[in-house]
């Protein structure tokens, strides 16, 4: 392997954080996409804007906000620690939360487009065949929006690998715990003689990002062919 021990550690940590991040945001994103597509309610536009906020806010600000809410003295953070002994600050779970929040809009967007293309007539058909609401969602809606769910998950995973600002603000830059690829790259650039390490990390990030996007596209095509569209 052409990576040093600390670089390979950063790679593994990045993959671990991105996986946790996607697993955390996936169910919430499916629910959010469904609510935004299928429900009409007061304040829907505001809710929609809130979901998209991380796209336009400075990541450092998102990290700061998380620090206020989920920090040891923050309302949610204190409660999580009391109730579950879960510490977010300075941990990889915290890094996962920060990346989940940052990549959330990307995930919801992809799912929404997919859900909007699901023919409601098919859900009605399932209904006349005796399928209740949860049954219909699980057997018709979810499988048919699956291309969007998976494309969204892959895109979010790739974005999570590269999240910098929110992570470093919320959980700092601790080797082996929160120093993911972009943070390792930043640290290498700050270190005298770290140029070659920085170049390797940059290459690695490029490969991972590209692979994620290609995989997502390949997957979407495959599913479309399977559904005969």
């Amino acid at each position: 392997m052409w990576l040093s021990a600390s670089e390979s550690e950063a790679l593994h940590l990045s993959l671990s954080v991105a996986t946790r991040s996607v697993l955390l945001s996936l169910p919430v994103a499916i629910l959010t996409a469904w609510i935004l597509t299928r429900r009409q309610f007061l304040g829907r536009t505001v809710f929609d804007a809130l979901v998209h906020l991380p796209l336009v806010l400075p990541p450092v600000m998102v990290g700061y906000l998380l620090l206020l809410l989920f920090g040891t003295r923050g309302p949610i953070g204190a409660w999580l620690e009391r109730a579950f002994g879960l510490e977010l600050i300075f941990t990889r779970n915290g890094a996962a939360l920060a990346t989940a929040v940052m990549s959330f809009p990307l995930m919801v967007r992809s799912m929404r487009i997919s859900l909007e293309n699901v023919d409601r007539g098919l859900e009605d058909a399932a209904r006349t065949l005796g399928a209740g609401a949860i049954d219909r969602f699980a057997t018709i809606t979810l499988p048919l929006m699956l291309p969007g769910v998976l494309a969204g998950a892959i895109t979010a995973f790739s974005a999570a690998l590269g999240e910098f600002g929110a992570v470093i603000t919320f959980v700092s830059n601790i080797p082996g715990e929160t120093r993911t690829l972009p943070l390792a790259l930043y640290s290498a650039l700050q270190t005298p003689g770290g140029d070659s390490s920085a170049a390797r990390l940059a290459c690695l990030s490029l490969i991972l990002g590209l692979a994620g996007l290609l995989l997502s596209e390949w997957f979407a095509r495959r599913v479309r062919r399977l559904l005969g569209r």
């Binding site: 009605d124 065949l129 018709i140 048919l144």
Partner: protein, 371 residues
């Protein structure tokens, strides 16, 4: 069996105000031009559309009654719905589509997978993906899927409208088989009168959201409201008769009223019930018993009414012994023959201009008319 439906609903620029009752098991056709509210009415029956007021009652099951605040959700109504665009689940194979319905059926199976596969000849399609099917095959699968949900009633919303003529002829015999072999009532929506008179036992006419006339098909074939929808050229009595046997030339002899029609009916067996359409424009009226003619069918009867057919022709209704047929002739002919109520006449029609279909055994006899 009793099936009663009524629905009122106000849409933007359109009002649905419809009701009908099907007094006996059979096929009730909702017939009218496109956009007259047929599909809305079917959606009310299925529960997919909530009317402002109305009821849907099938025997002792109250599926909807707005006065009593009863509205069963569609998933519990057990209405087998066959949609115009089939709506097969694209992520499932044909077999999985069929099993989807079977798994969710709440009452004991009276239609099993084997029976549906046989009746609709789906065996060879089971492993196919739905987008690999032709239009006709798709509709057969959709019909099978609806049947496997073990429905109280089968709702067919223009199931053949998206098919071309040859595909339509491919699917129609399957629907006839279902009507004749399964004792399941059907609501058949169509704007194609050929399908309707071939399949239905009971006809409900709709125009701009309202049900304007209803009754058994034979009786409704004489209804002036029908003419307004299908046009003068398609008007004609639809009579039912019993096959007496084949004549030496191979034509089927069918007892109709006091008379007998010779019909090209292929392999109809003696005793079978046949429905025959006598288009009014194809009938010739004589006031003397005709001789030396090639025409195979001469029906003696008497004129029961002469009505103006908007223009230069008259519609002559002729009773041929408990059955009424109609002829469209020019007003000049009416005058020359001095036709009026009670005139003894002979109606002539060529065998080649008659169309007939078997109506199987489970069809309600014409005497069960209801207004």
């Amino acid at each position: 069996m009793m099936f009663s439906v009524s629905a009122r609903k106000q849409f933007a620029g359109f009002a649905l105000d419809a009701s009908f009752e099907l007094p006996a098991p059979g096929v009730v056709a909702l017939f009218g031009r496109s956009g007259c509210g047929k599909t809305s009415l079917v959606n009310v029956i299925a529960g997919l559309l909530q009317p402002d007021a109305g009821h849907v009652v099938l025997d002792d099951a109250v599926l909807l009654d707005t006065e009593r605040r009863i509205s069963m959700p569609p998933e519990r109504r057990r209405m087998g719905y066959v949609f115009q665009e089939s709506r097969l689940f694209p992520h499932l194979s044909v077999g999985a589509n069929l099993r989807y319905a079977l798994k969710r059926a709440t009452r004991p199976a009276f239609v099993n997978l084997g029976l549906v596969t046989d009746l609709l000849e789906l065996g060879a399609l089971m492993d196919r993906r739905t987008h690999q099917l032709s239009g006709g095959e798709r509709q057969r699968v959709a019909i099978g899927r609806a049947l496997l949900s073990q429905p109280r009633l089968l709702l067919l919303d223009e199931p053949l409208a998206s098919l071309d003529a040859s595909r339509r002829d491919e699917v129609l015999p399957y629907l006839e088989t279902l009507r004749d072999q399964l004792a399941i009532p059907m609501v058949y929506v169509s704007h194609n009168f050929d399908e309707v008179w071939r399949l239905a036992t009971y006809l409900v006419l709709m125009r701009s959201g309202k049900t304007i006339a209803q009754g058994a098909v034979g009786k409704m074939s004489l209804n002036p409201e029908l003419r307004a929808i299908i046009g003068a050229d398609a008007v004609g009595a639809i009579v039912e008769g019993t096959v007496l046997g084949a004549d030496p030339s191979g034509l089927m002899r069918v007892r109709v009223g006091h008379g007998e029609l010779k019909v090209q009916a292929g392999a109809a067996i003696k005793g079978a019930r046949l429905r025959v359409q006598l288009l009014a424009r194809d009938l010739i009226v004589a006031t003397q018993a005709p001789q030396y003619l090639s025409v195979r069918n001469v029906l003696a009867g008497s004129v029961t009414s002469v009505t103006d057919d908007e223009g230069d022709s008259d519609l002559i209704a002729i009773d041929i012994g408990g059955t009424t047929i109609m002829a469209r002739i020019t007003k000049a002919a009416t005058r020359d023959l001095r036709l009026s109520t009670g005139t003894a006449v002979w109606a002539l029609v060529k065998s080649v201009s008659l169309r007939s279909y078997s109506i199987g055994t489970k069809v309600a006899p014409e005497s069960q008319d209801a207004e």
